[in-house]
Symmetry: C2
Amino acid sequence: MSRFTTIKDIAKKLNLSVSTVSRALRNTYDVNRETREKVLAVANELHYRPALPATGLVSRSSHNLAVILPFVGGHYFSTVISGIQEVAYQHDYNVILHITNDSPKRELSLIRNLAVPNLDGLLIAVSSGSEATAHFQKIMNTGTPVVFFDRVPDTIKASRVVQDDYLGAFEAVAHLAGRGYRHIGHIAGPEGSDLAQKRKMGFLDALKKHGLPVKKRWIMHSGFSQENGLADTAALLKQKERPDAIFAVNDQKAIGTMIALKNAGITIGREIGLIGFANDPAAAVVSPTLSTIAEPAFEIGKRSCELLLKHIGRRSFIPEDVLLPGTLIARESTLREPPLPQ
Amino acid sequence: MSRFTTIKDIAKKLNLSVSTVSRALRNTYDVNRETREKVLAVANELHYRPALPATGLVSRSSHNLAVILPFVGGHYFSTVISGIQEVAYQHDYNVILHITNDSPKRELSLIRNLAVPNLDGLLIAVSSGSEATAHFQKIMNTGTPVVFFDRVPDTIKASRVVQDDYLGAFEAVAHLAGRGYRHIGHIAGPEGSDLAQKRKMGFLDALKKHGLPVKKRWIMHSGFSQENGLADTAALLKQKERPDAIFAVNDQKAIGTMIALKNAGITIGREIGLIGFANDPAAAVVSPTLSTIAEPAFEIGKRSCELLLKHIGRRSFIPEDVLLPGTLIARESTLREPPLPQ
DNA sequence: GTGAAAGCGCTAACAC
DNA sequence: GTGTTAGCGCTTTCAC
């Protein structure tokens, strides 16, 4: 069983002490140029790789970051990971991935069993209904920096990186207004949801700002799924007064809305404008293509990781709050005039 | 700066030796029941977490697996990760994620700098045009097990886990035949692509098996993108003879095909049947919904990781090849009769 | 059943 | 400039 090359092997081969080899490898202190070159040559020849656990033992740093999040299958979180990964790679940190499946139970067991001494920092998106807040606090008390992203607990004093749901919703509605729609309804999320609440506020404030009427009956609350969107919209269309545009809390519900509108024989865009939120890949593929607010997923990952590394760098750190704007993506569903045939 | 609790702290507090504490913690050898319980109690009280790098130093095992893949943003690879993660979690292994961005250069630098001594095993999907084969071999020579998945180098003797592209294509075409389509074309991938080649073979063999005509001119080769699919299909439709069904090499091209068919005023399903490959989330959302072969992404991750752990368990191991079938998902695009209105 | 001591691979005083 | 020594946190002989 071939062991790995260690500095000891190099030392023996060169009749040097391990410390000299260690110094030469890291190019620190004063090492004779020749010695250093010889060491480097042998290291290369023997395919030497430093044993990080050992260096970590001494330096009390593992260059490991843990990322804890609910899912990885979807578009959003996997893009966030890309952003994290990008920064971690540049700074030579490892990303250790943990998935909770959005289960508070699994999250809790995961956190409790987490090998914190093995970690330089944590990046966490909490699962819905998380019960691990006390444990997050404990980890932070050990001096290990933590940055929360996307889904953040509000009872904890720590850095957070989130997107600006309020502003995104505001801009979605402003876009509708700019395209000439005047009677705007909202297919909202559950009343209890923080995210849904913020988007609704953005919706309402945008209406006010643009002097448009607010019709309570045009705001439909339910879950986040496509089916919910379909049902909400079907109910909305039964009212005697109809909106001429709809802002949906996310793209899934917006797509449900599209189906309901099609079922009712309504031309999307011309008769009723529609905008979603997320920029799900599906939005570019449905027909007509769906206008939406693109979430800054990659950016969230990037900034979270940068912030964490900053905390790791200084031993003491003050929490920061980062609010990232989304980007309006105008597509066919908010086009009042059909595009010219090509 | 609060340090982490170590076995030394526990030992001191209990007036025991570190070795006894170590033994008690791992419940090994004969430790007095009372002693053990006291140790466990104090460990709990002090929030003791073992320092994995230290245990790893001694046991020569880190419980770390590296996963190296081209992307993480898309649906496919992120689902694979879920599968890996699931198994790793159950067996108490960490997953360290590395992304190559499908760049051979970055893959190479990543592999070269990989802290292999810190790893118990590797899971790799190589990037296109990979130049790292020699390095993979080197890693395997150190005795570190490697399992390749999805994208596998054919010049290396190692375990691989891949989906059955041939069979998937075969079944897609068999499905078309079963629905009564007789004149089937193929929107294929690039001629050089291994994956595209296998799917084409499956297509051809299925035609033969069902006694259907093979028309060379109905096989269009180009890239994998939606735009390619649109262009291919537009060209196909210009021919004087038209197929009554199309098998596309992937869902993206199939969606391009859908657009081309719609542009030509053709009713998808009734006039021309269409089936893709991948079960991209978009396939369930386009209109009509797209029949497809679902890739066993989660399963690939799961099996790869299981296989790797098996290799890690036994110190010597023989390569295995795992071929995973996809699943037919029949949707509206292969429906010859429109569904009854609800 | 428990303790003392050595050692995993590496770094950092401290000598010389 | 280089070697010696101690020690990071843990496990594992080997004593007793």
